[in-house]
Amino acid sequence: MKAKLWGVRGSLPAPYTPEYLEKKVRGLLQDYGEYLKDNAEGDVDGFLNQTERHRYQGFGGHTACVEISTDSSQLVIDGGSGLRRLGEKMMLGPAGLGRGEMHILMTHFHWDHIIGLPFFIPLFVPGNDIHFYAVQEDLEERIRAVFRKPNFPVPYEALPSKIHYHQIAARQPKAVGDIVVTPYELDHPDPCWGLRIENKGRVLTYAVDTECNRLSRKEMGEDAKLYENSHVLIFDAQYSFLEAAEKVNWGHASAPVGLDLAIREGIERVYFVHHDPAASDEKIMKSAAQTAEYFNKLKETYVKKNEPLPNVEWSFAPEGITIEI
């Protein structure tokens, strides 16, 4: 099973401002000038290979959209602005000929998770079948509302594709092809569902958006199963630890919290997403540095007590990466 992250921003798409882009380009050109002094042939690949990736690619500005795929099935999680590009890719296949069948599971209906839906081109191609899934009872009404005039020029009723709705039961597995998804409730100001996504014995946990007000297994109750025996975690790290602590009821978490959950549950790898739209690439890297420092000190504390911690691989995920589960 694979997961491709088409959008990793939270709250609002975050395109670069011209000023910020210029600053980045100037910084890189200056460093390239230095690089040329030792590398007269000036090979660009060599320069980029020794430059931190976020400096020339950034983390990306599109909001929540994840494409889960196996050899035979595909499931899209959320319709943030990242969905537009995924739709463009799908148009190169059966969806472009009106023979596509797509499955989109909505965790909740905040702007950053629905804003890409009106720009999902397969919806405008007659013959395509598009299946929406959610735990929320008002799924159909929420999707219709996205296309309501005057917020969008094409009314819902005029969409030529066939749209199907499936309300899924909380904490019950639901199969979409050979992908099995079980929703568990997260801690968010409006109901939002984390997903345990399974295929061939491998498990991906998608825990975005959540403030993690319930922390212990006891407090989480049935919802603790979201993390149990999972292999890979995609987690909400919109804020630094202190920012998240101060923004009570904003509904988001920080990387150290995700890391500690992963340690407790024996999860192998964690990808932090839902980056704050106000965070520059440098600010995200600062959160990464804080997380590294935190993890190192925590490990030291445990080693001192002769109780070494399991290793957890983690990173702040940029847009566009594909995760092998």
């Binding site: 922390l215 630890f241 602590a245 420092e293 000190k297």
Partner: protein, 164 residues
């Protein structure tokens, strides 16, 4: 790691809370008795450390307490000072840090020891009129008498002093 526990001692206007064990998501703050005390001293000497989940619980508990009482933090061990400086949020606004431990290491005999630094001598917290700061000197090793050195990166260790 030992389970997190709190021992409370009330005398007049002063409530002293002695914490022990590891501060994680299992930490139960409801075991602390209701108190109208104006001064709350938090003795952290026996705390083994904390993770971010415990710290999240700590912040939810301490924030309202700090709004009605003067909080003093005493004898913070290195594991806690590190998290104070990295994640911050451990020391609520308006609270005083009266003493912390600094780990020392003796190169000659390998002895490790935590030395208590008092606010006003080893370090000072900033006020409206004064800047925060710290001073780390070598200390004679209690085992062999040679010079023992602080086993920390001072800039990182004392970062908590400079956080707003």
């Amino acid at each position: 790691m030992k389970q997190f526990e709190v021992e409370a001692e009330q005398s007049g206007e002063q409530l002293t809370l002695r914490f022990s064990g590891f501060l994680n998501e299992e930490a139960d703050f409801t075991q602390i008795p209701e108190s109208q005390a104006q001064n709350v001293a938090l003795n952290l000497e026996q705390l083994e450390g904390s993770n971010s989940l415990g710290l999240k619980k700590w912040i939810s508990w301490i924030t309202p307490v700090s709004q009605t009482a003067q909080i003093t933090i005493e004898k913070a061990p290195p594991e806690i000072v590190n998290q104070m400086s990295i994640l911050s949020g451990f020391v609520p606004k308006g609270a005083k840090v009266s003493s912390i431990f600094v780990p020392y290491y003796c190169d000659s005999c390998g002895h490790e020891e935590n030395i208590l630094f008092e606010n006003g001598s080893g370090f000072v917290t900033g006020t409206a009129a004064t800047k925060p700061g710290y001073r780390i000197d070598d200390r004679p090793c209690t085992q062999c008498g040679a010079d023992a050195e602080a086993d920390v990166l001072p800039e990182a260790y004392f970062k908590f002093l400079f956080q707003k």
